[in-house]
């Protein structure tokens, strides 16, 4: 049986090439996702396991102690030099080390920050007896000894294009400054594996930068002596610690770090791979159905000479299994390439390129399981049909009987589609229902497509005949000949385009909302914000205010006013003189000029708290330890900006700490000087971690993330659309081989090659556009329903993109007919004449 199957496959190898290619793409997508996901998580796990091997136990403030920082008297005990000295004496500890760490960014030669900012850290360099820090072995230069000297990690040095002796721009705590690289170091540190950078400072500088309030280190770590376990050491250490501090083992630290990460990316990739595989089954099914029909006499002959139905069926399924297995092998190989591609793409963004683990059990099993199972599943119905051929069919010369009526299929399809539409309607307000409604709608449409195809091509008959004469008529009639196949082909494209459209509608709507919100939130000419995980320095507003073109400037600081233990009022600290001009607020009562004497309240908050002009609010501003009673001096409208305003002068004068983080600095320029001021600010601050944006840039930046997300979605869905295109090529190729005699006759009767190709082109474009139109409608409905589940998002239908999709599918139709067209043109005319060819 295997040999017979192989022989069949060999003689029809061209027929199987395209469906196999579709499965190959699906399998490659699956294996690529799995290999990449596995490689990244194992690289991170390895890096975590090896991170800072000298740490056995870490001492840090307890969560409880940290949370009560509102009350300065309850602050956790300091991790200072005295404690460090004491901990060196813990039994079982070889050494103890004070660590002062915090966020620190490095700029490259182009002035842009490098590395993953979340994972980028500044650390203190602790020279040992030999002058070197064993935690950070140097590969070049020496350790930093004074302010203005730093050592950076090897990868960062390479990415920044800097070496020993070079000056680099660094950003710590919102302030940019230059530093000289005196050393290049290596480290076993999971932050490096995750794409971050390490900048080592001398001890005094690190302490000043990262732990100025604590009067000590950010943590103390201990190294266990041989024979002492981490747990034992932790226990011993804990005994020597005051309340508010805890000793945790390295194992526990690793566990805490791992807890947050999951395989989200892999799952997203896999779901897109699943869609690609789903549509590839249509190609496989189409091909096996076509071959079953073409080989009906062959199968009937087998049956006539005594083969059982099961034998015939098993023969077809064996062929399918071989196709699936071959496609899996090729798909796996291609999947390694996909993984490498993902590694490069995501690596370029995050800075992590994991070493690929090429042969792992899960991807291998998944590739073969999925590849073979999908192919078998798709070939099952055609195989059953092949087995159902009556032996007597071998003796008949007529063509195979016309397939069963589409009535039952139509009823089922219409029912499921209606259910999908109803669910979608109901889903307007329920996100979870949407995930059920979308697949139901698509499945319903897939079942219904043969009838839709008949209806649409029926309508197209007259216009096409008028437009393209007999060619149009022949093309549209050909598309109607096998409505099931036409439908399955259109459906492959439909699924891809429905996804593309749904995502496009949703993203366009969200982008519009983001842009509108950004617009509404910005009343000033310019805005200065920090990059993600960065900070705006305390001196930024002052420096901007001194620039010649600056008309008005205020820093916007979010903090809160503690009225009682339970009642905390979020307040925004601004500059009283300029806030009315710069912030998107409208004054209702009172005057903001007097804000330095009291508090301004947004009208809704005022109503909720029964506050009027002159009422008093009593509370403690975060970071201070003094209660103050503030009169309401103004009532304004502008909830999106702030619920309550106070003067920035009330803020505690601390340069560091979460209590007074500057959200943004907003500024107006003198008339017509916005651009000049913008470049002046950039030049003056010279801080790569700050964004200085005008209104247009703010608006654009608001939809930047969603635009990027949309591009990633498009990239993922392009595989599905590509398989859809292959489906059209496949169907047109099959059509040509089935119609060899007709083509020969038409050529003999005087149809030239160009017009022969154009008949195929019209058919191919008709099928493609049918799929496209259905996909656009279904996707539009799904996207709209998704948008309507979010009450605040306006529905935006991106007609231009829809038109582009439609045009692109027309192009797919034209391209897909090229190869089948060439096949058709090569058909010898004499094929139509004789009886010898079947």
């Amino acid at each position: 049986m295997l040999r017979t199957a192989l022989r069949t496959l060999r003689s029809h190898r061209l027929r199987f090439a395209l469906p196999a290619l579709a499965v190959v793409l699906g399998v490659a997508f699956v294996t690529g996702s799995l290999i990449y996901g596995d490689s990244v998580s194992s690289a991170i796990a390895t890096a975590r396991a090896n991170s800072q091997p000298d740490v056995s136990v870490a001492v840090r403030p307890t969560d409880a102690a940290l949370q009560s920082t509102q009350d300065p008297s309850a602050a956790p005990p300091r991790l200072d030099a005295t404690l460090l000295k004491r901990l060196r004496g813990v039994p079982g500890a070889v050494s103890a080390r004070g660590t002062a760490e915090g966020r620190s960014f490095l700029a490259g030669s182009d002035g842009e920050l490098i590395g993953d900012l979340y994972e980028s850290a500044g650390v203190n360099y602790v020279p040992g007896p030999g002058g070197e820090d064993p935690r950070y072995p140097l590969t070049a230069g020496r350790g930093p000894r004074a302010t203005g000297e730093i050592a950076i990690d090897e990868a960062a040095a390479e990415r920044a294009g800097k070496g020993v002796g070079d000056r680099v721009r660094i950003v710590v705590d919102g302030t940019a400054r230059n530093a000289r690289v005196v050393g290049v170091l290596t480290a076993e540190d999971s932050r490096l594996a995750s794409g971050g950078t390490l900048t080592a400072f001398d001890g005094a500088t690190a302490l000043r930068q990262f732990a100025p309030d604590q009067g000590g280190y950010t943590s103390i770590t201990l190294t266990a002596a041989e024979g002492t376990s981490e747990a034992q050491l932790a226990q011993q250490t804990q005994k020597m610690l005051p309340d508010g501090l805890e000793a945790v083992t390295a194992a526990q630290l690793r566990e805490e770090a791992t807890a947050g990460s999951d395989d989200k990316l892999t799952n997203v990739l896999l779901s897109f791979a699943g869609i690609a595989l789903f549509v590839s089954t249509f190609l496989v099914a189409n091909t096996f159905t076509m071959l079953s029909a073409a080989r009906a006499r062959e199968h009937a002959l087998l049956r006539a000479v005594g083969a059982t139905r099961r034998y015939v069926m098993r023969q077809v399924l064996t062929e399918a299994a071989i196709v699936g297995a071959v496609a899996s092998v090729v798909g796996y190989a291609l999947g390694i390439g996909v993984a490498a591609l993902l590694n490069t793409l995501f690596g370029a963004a995050s800075g992590i390129t994991a070493p690929l683990r090429i042969v792992q059990l899960t991807p291998v099993l998944a590739a073969f399981g999925v590849g073979i199972a999908i192919t078998l599943l798709a070939a099952y119905v055609p195989a059953r049909r092949a087995a159902a051929v009556a032996p007597v069919a071998a003796l008949r010369t007529s063509r195979p009987p016309t397939p069963a009526s589409l009535r039952r299929r139509g009823i089922i399809g219409a029912t499921v589609t209606a259910l999908g539409v109803a669910l979608l309607w109901a889903a307007g307000g329920d996100e979870n229902l949407l995930y059920t409604a979308a697949p139901v709608l698509l499945v319903g449409l897939i079942v219904l497509t043969p009838l839709i195809a008949l209806g649409v091509t029926g309508l197209l008959r007259t216009p096409l005949r008028r437009l393209a004469g007999i060619r149009g008529k022949l093309a549209v009639e050909n598309a109607r000949r096998n409505p099931r196949r036409t439908a399955a082909t259109a459906a492959t494209l439909m699924v891809g385009l429905a996804m593309v459209t749904a995502v496009t509608v949703a993203v366009a709507s969200i982008s519009r909302m983001d842009e509108e919100e950004a617009d509404a939130a910005m009343a000033s000419d310019l805005r200065i914000t920090a990059v993600a995980f960065g900070q705006v320095g305390a001196d930024v507003a002052d420096r901007v205010a001194h620039l010649p073109d600056a008309a008005a400037v205020t820093a916007v600081v979010n903090t809160d006013l503690r009225i009682s233990e339970e009642d905390i009022l979020p307040v925004t600290a601004v500059s009283p003189g300029t806030v009315e001009r710069l912030a998107p607020i409208t004054l209702r009562k009172g005057s903001l000029k007097r804000l330095d004497r009291g508090i301004a309240v947004e009208e809704q908050t005022a109503a909720a708290r029964h506050l009027t002009l002159g009422s008093r609010v009593t509370g403690t501003l975060a970071g201070t330890d003094r209660k103050s009673s503030l009169p309401v001096v103004a009532i304004y409208e502008g909830e999106d900006f702030a619920t309550t305003l106070v003067s920035g002068t009330r803020l505690p004068r601390t340069a560091h700490g979460d209590q007074a983080r500057i959200a943004e600095v907003i500024a107006d320029a003198d008339p017509g000087r916005t651009a000049a001021l913008q470049s002046d600010i950039r030049h003056t601050l010279d801080n790569p971690a700050l964004l200085v944006q005008d209104r247009a840039e703010v608006r654009k930046a608001a939809s930047n993330d969603t635009a990027e997300f949309l591009n990633i979605m498009y990239a993922m869905l392009s595989v599905t659309v590509l398989i859809g295109a292959l489906g059209v090529v496949n169907t047109m190729g099959m059509a040509v081989s089935e119609r060899v005699r007709e083509i020969g006759m038409l050529r003999a009767l005087g149809l030239d090659r160009k017009r022969l190709a154009s008949i195929l082109r019209i058919e191919s474009v008709t099928i493609s556009l049918l799929g496209s139109a259905l996909g656009l409608m279904a996707g539009g409905a799904i996207g709209a329903a998704a948008v309507l589940t979010q009450p605040s998002v306006p529905l935006v239908i991106p007609w231009d993109r829809a038109a582009l999709c439609f045009a692109a599918t027309a192009a797919i139709g034209v391209l897909a007919s090229l190869w089948p067209g060439r096949q058709a043109m090569a058909v010898p005319m004499l094929r139509a004449m004789g009886t010898d060819t079947e």
């Binding site: 004469g469 007999i470 008529k473 022949l474 009639e477 050909n478 109607r480 000949r481 005699r741 007709e742 006759m745 038409l746 050529r747 003999a748 009767l749 005087g750 149809l751 030239d752 090659r753 017009r755 005319m829 004499l830 139509a832 004449m833 004789g834 009886t835």
Partner: protein, 261 residues
């Protein structure tokens, strides 16, 4: 009636040569495996003449017709339709010539299954971009008894009806010559007789030149002239052939061939 079907002024009058093969040879393959299908056949076909090309399987009769009709290119020699040497035409000119000046009736699978009978009949005209003469079309359809079948698809027609539709198609554009390749090969004798009578009438009444390839002596008897091919050569010509006479001739060839072996 003869008055009515007088050929139009532009058409060749009786006696004009409308198709001609000169020393046509056709060799398939090369070297040791070369097979000579035609070994220098010359023949002329004048307007209004119904010629049967006879011969046993492998005699080269189909190849001769294919070369003459521009479906196949001869290895040497020339084929002409009217004044046009087919060898001088490129692919697209040849296609145009077939469309405008040649009609075809094949043995089987003659019609496009997706088109109605009428659409099949006007297919060559549609391809050429010309509007068929409605009176002529009506006459053809009436003569062939297809008037009530025009809206039907081929699978709704009998074999004889299908072949009559093919005949109407071949004549619809008033081609210089109609080539028929075993037109009755798949038909029963009654349906075959209808097709042959029509071809005969189209020559005698409509003045249509018809060249028919057949191996059936009964079919050949409808023709005004029979050419006999054997082993790629023209071996005999017979005017006003009768079925019995043709059969005799064929038997003589068979005997000769057997003797030669």
């Amino acid at each position: 009636m003869s008055q009515r079907w007088d050929a139009p002024a532009s058409s060749p009058t009786i006696g004009t040569v409308v198709a001609e093969g000169r020393h046509l040879t056709k060799v398939y393959g090369e070297g040791d495996t070369a097979v000579t299908a035609l070994a220098g056949v010359s023949a002329r076909f004048v307007s209004g003449e119904f010629t049967a090309i006879m011969g046993p399987s492998g005699s080269g009769k189909s190849t001769f017709m294919h070369c003459l009709a521009g479906l196949d290119t001869p290895t040497s020699g020339s084929a002409r339709i009217g004044d046009t040497d087919l060898g001088s035409l490129n692919e697209s000119r040849l296609t145009k010539l077939r469309r405008e000046r040649i009609g075809f009736v094949f043995q089987s699978f003659n019609l496009m299954p997706t088109l109605t009978a009428l659409e099949n009949i006007t297919l060559p005209c549609d391809l050429a971009g010309i509007t068929p003469d409605p009176a002529w079309l009506r006459e053809l359809v009436g003569t062939l008894g297809l008037a009530d079948r025009l809206g039907h698809r081929p699978d709704q027609l009998s074999g004889g009806q299908q072949q009559r539709v093919a005949c109407a198609r071949a004549l619809a554009s008033r081609p210089a010559v109609v080539f028929a390749d075993e037109p009755t090969g798949n038909l029963d004798s009654r349906a075959g007789a209808q097709v042959l009578s029509f071809l005969q009438m189209s020559a005698t009444v409509f003045g249509q030149t018809v060249v028919m390839v057949t191996h059936d002596p009964v079919a050949a008897a409808y023709a005004g002239r029979a050419l006999f091919l054997a082993d790629g050569q023209l071996v005999h010509e017979m005017a006003h052939p009768s079925a019995a006479g043709v059969l005799e001739q064929m038997k003589a060839f068979d005997a000769g061939q057997q003797a030669a072996r």
